[in-house]
């Protein structure tokens, strides 16, 4: 029988390669906290990397960053703004920032994956390649990317989202929401907004949520379907246009025969008092209005 000591030694030798393959967690090379005061805003310029922003209730900004050895993080505090940028050779910088929830934020760069959680003020994010994930946010919210998906959850205010080559997902938002993309679908879930607009070329548009009285909802696609899932108690006028597509509904809508919807001719259908205005246009896809909670029957 093997001696215990040798068994331990053999175990350690066997485990060593596995441990060597595990990448050790990188401690941030930069970890700096600066005081800030209400009225100041945060501006981050990062060429490439990941930018993760959390919020807290302190009047201070903590900047942690992992970066190449020769890269230096600049944190410049002005009268109204804290600028965070880099000096040195180009390389990827990953930020983990904790900022006051009241602080407006602006993040710009070429190849950034941005995640912001808990912001309670204006947020502006612009990148060329990279996904944008925003949880929370209040006020003026702008997110733009060329090649990346945008996900917004629980945001309130004036929300403008733009992608080009991927889709957009908005969940639980309220306020005025506008989303556009070219090659991707736009999905709204658990919405409680009075004004929503969505436009895409190659993609579907789906909306699930309430329709506020006197609200305005506009959904446009060229090669995709539009599907709305709304409560039967909603009051809305659905204006439908499709050139090569079709229209169907599981709700008791009042309006012309579906066969009259052809070649782009406008058809209006009323639910309840018809208060909210809903416009749906698809060049070649189907347009559906479904009852919330009903099983999909394809009509």
């Amino acid at each position: 029988m093997m001696r215990p000591g040798i068994a331990v030694l053999l175990y350690a030798l066997a485990a060593a390669p596995v441990q060597a393959q595990e990448r050790p967690s990188r401690a941030p090379q930069t970890d700096q906290t600066v005081p800030v005061s209400r009225g100041m805003r945060l501006a981050i310029e990062n060429y490439a990397g990941e930018v993760i922003i959390h919020t807290w209730d302190k009047d201070a900004l903590r900047v942690q960053a992992r970066h190449p050895a020769r890269t230096r993080i600049n944190i410049r505090t002005g009268a109204n703004v804290v600028n965070v940028s880099t000096n040195g050779p180009a390389g990827s910088v990953d930020y983990d920032i904790t900022a006051p929830a009241w602080m407006p934020m602006k993040i710009e760069g070429q190849f950034n994956y941005v995640t912001i959680e808990g912001a309670q003020s204006d947020v502006s994010i612009e990148t060329v390649r990279g996904d944008i994930v925003l949880k929370g946010g209040s006020g003026s919210i702008t997110a733009r990317t060329i090649e990346g998906e945008i996900q917004v959850e629980g945001a309130r205010g004036t929300i403008n989202l733009s992608s080009v080559n991927q889709g957009i997902r908005v969940t639980g938002a309220s306020g005025d929401v506008a989303a556009e993309t070219t090659n991707g679908s736009i999905t709204f879930t658990r919405m409680d907004s009075k004004t929503v607009g969505a436009a895409t070329i190659n993609g579907n548009v789906s909306y699930e949520g309430t329709l506020a009285d006197n609200g305005r909802y506009t959904f446009t696609t060229h090669n995709g379907d539009i599907v709305m899932t709304v409560p039967e108690t909603a009051n809305a006028t659905f204006t439908v246009r499709t050139y090569n597509g079709e229209f169907g509904s599981s709700l008791p809508l009042k309006g012309p025969e579906r066969s009259e919807i052809k070649r782009g001719r406008r058809a209006a259908y009323t639910l309840g008092t018809g208060s909210a205005e809903v416009e749906m246009e698809s060049f070649g896809g189907a347009i559906r209005v479904r009852r919330a909670g009903a099983a999909r029957t394809g009509r």
Binding site: Q110, V128, R129, I146, E147, V164, N165, T182, N183, A199, I201, N202, T220, H222, N223, R241, Y243, G255, P256, R263, G264, R265, R266, A268, E277, E281, F283, G284
Partner: protein, 230 residues
């Protein structure tokens, strides 16, 4: 409905696209609303002036040129960009000038309506003829495509600037932009083909204008990226 809602319906009211109850609602509203009566009179004047315009096709087919440049069997040589026009121009444009070109396109559309309505002699358009056979009770609206030449020029200017800045963009970004421009061009092409058989279709005309604006917006965004990359 609010006055704004009635105003939004006047175009369809004029086109005869409202349902009977909707038309009756507008008929009942008009005697009480001077603003809507004035807007309706303006729309009738535009329709009358548009009927005198000639349906002039664009000087060149934009999509054909783009398709030829990006076709798989005809990949560009190194250093030759799909965004380059066949005929290069010695003119160069600054970013503000290009932005102004995009704004000018939008202002032109509105300005032409104003000039046509006021009978301005500068609105010197050739008469057009509608090709759709309609019933005696149908009001004819000629397709509003008199801005084709200006649209083509704006697109060409933007493509030239993008070509000049192409090397400043990542190859993957260029690929994505080209792919999406092609997607928009396919949508534009589908609209145009549909309009060829249904030229007075309001939805198609509006949808085509929207698709064209999308292309300009995407090109403008791409040229801005290229400029920032310098």
């Amino acid at each position: 409905m609010t006055t704004d809602s009635f105003t939004d319906r006047l175009s369809e009211y004029l086109d005869g696209e409202l349902s009977a109850p909707e038309r009756a609602a507008v008929d009942a509203h008009l005697p009480q609303c001077a603003a809507c009566r004035s807007t309706l009179a303006d729309l009738r004047a535009v329709v009358a002036e548009a009927a005198l315009l000639r349906n002039a096709p664009p000087a060149r087919e934009l999509w054909g040129g783009i398709a030829a440049r990006i076709a798989p069997g005809r990949l560009p040589r190194a250093g030759v960009s799909p965004f380059r026009r066949a005929i290069t121009s010695r003119l160069s444009f600054t970013l503000p000038q290009l932005a102004a070109a995009g704004i000018a396109l939008m202002v032109l559309s509105g300005g032409l309506v104003w000039m046509a309505r006021s009978g301005d002699p500068r609105a010197d358009f050739q008469p057009i003829s509608a090709q759709t056979e309609l019933g005696p009770d149908t009001q004819m609206i000629a397709p509003a495509n008199f801005a084709d030449a200006h649209y083509d020029e704006a697109i060409a200017d933007l493509e030239r600037t993008l070509e000049a800045g192409r090397t400043k963009l990542e190859p993957e970004t260029v690929r994505v932009l080209e792919e999406n421009l092609r997607a928009i061009d396919r949508a534009i092409d589908q609209c145009r083909r549909a309009l060829a058989t249904d030229p007075a279709n309001l939805y198609l005309n509006t949808h085509l204008a929207d698709a064209r604006q999308r292309k300009i917006t995407l090109l403008r965004r791409a040229t801005t990226l290229a400029m920032l990359g310098s």
